[in-house]
Symmetry: C4
Subunit: 102 residues, 4 copies
Amino acid sequence: YLRAVRLRKTSLLILALAFIAGSATLAYALEPSTFGTWFNALYWVLTTMATVGYGDYYAKTAAGKTFTIFLYIFGIGLLSLIIGKIVDSVAAIHRQREAGKL
Amino acid sequence: YLRAVRLRKTSLLILALAFIAGSATLAYALEPSTFGTWFNALYWVLTTMATVGYGDYYAKTAAGKTFTIFLYIFGIGLLSLIIGKIVDSVAAIHRQREAGKL
Amino acid sequence: YLRAVRLRKTSLLILALAFIAGSATLAYALEPSTFGTWFNALYWVLTTMATVGYGDYYAKTAAGKTFTIFLYIFGIGLLSLIIGKIVDSVAAIHRQREAGKL
Amino acid sequence: YLRAVRLRKTSLLILALAFIAGSATLAYALEPSTFGTWFNALYWVLTTMATVGYGDYYAKTAAGKTFTIFLYIFGIGLLSLIIGKIVDSVAAIHRQREAGKL
Ligand SMILES: [K+]
Ligand SMILES: [K+]
């Protein structure tokens, strides 16, 4: 059972990394002059998925804006899922330490 | 029972699409020079509902700002509901595949 | 029992409105030249509590930034609570209508 | 049992304060000219963790942007955990007062 849970977490992480890398590649392909480098496109994808949106980078073409809307609908849920899993993992480690101390 | 759930999901989607299209139309009617096109108003409505807020578009008149506040109160909850449903659906498909593989 | 629930919702709404109005008044008092009008300070408070943060208004003084941090810690939770209650209410009305139709 | 819960809340608060202060120190060390003062770096860290992201401050170097991505993955979950605990505490105090009144 524990192994199945670990498999699920690993496949979720692989899915998320593939989604993020693919989104950065597509964003950079759609608007190379907006981002300048692939790393900046990656940074913008994560800034969008985290809903921070500083405004230092944003899509300027209709195609780029349409892809941004796609990122809102699929990317935000995915990153909040990942953040939730990390909070759970940290909380579990924390509880184990507390239990060890008491 | 499954059919009732599907009906509920469909009617939620129709409600959301109508809300988004109506909001874009109203935003564009209130501040045409801010958005330039209806598509840009739609992009701004979704940027607001996703709480990303790049700052490339924002309301400038008191009427536009009042409508923005309305979007905060009703739009953010609606989009996070939709994102939650999508996460659930993706997770369900994911679980079925995992179950098929094991 | 239902009356107690309604009382709690009403008192939460009064608390939220007082918090929002008080925050706008304090923000406007701290940085009148940043906001120009009390309504703009109110718009900025709600833009912050909704975590949208367009960047059209933001605190410039150390006192204003300290108050902004206070808004992050107490305001964001409060508005997301209100949005959650509204989603629940709309979902409840929706369910009643669906039940009526079937 | 109650004492264990209180211990956990205190250690979470200490963890969060250490994370926030350390992040501000690192951000200021990475990009001193972006922030100007340590307090501005702290304000930016909290603006990022709260996902508000006004855009008045943002990382400009690759190192700074990489640290920003780290903040998205670990900081956002931590601050939303803290905000959730505060909402629970305020709701608990609220319920006790209501119970006292009835
Ligand atoms: K934001
Ligand atoms: K923003």
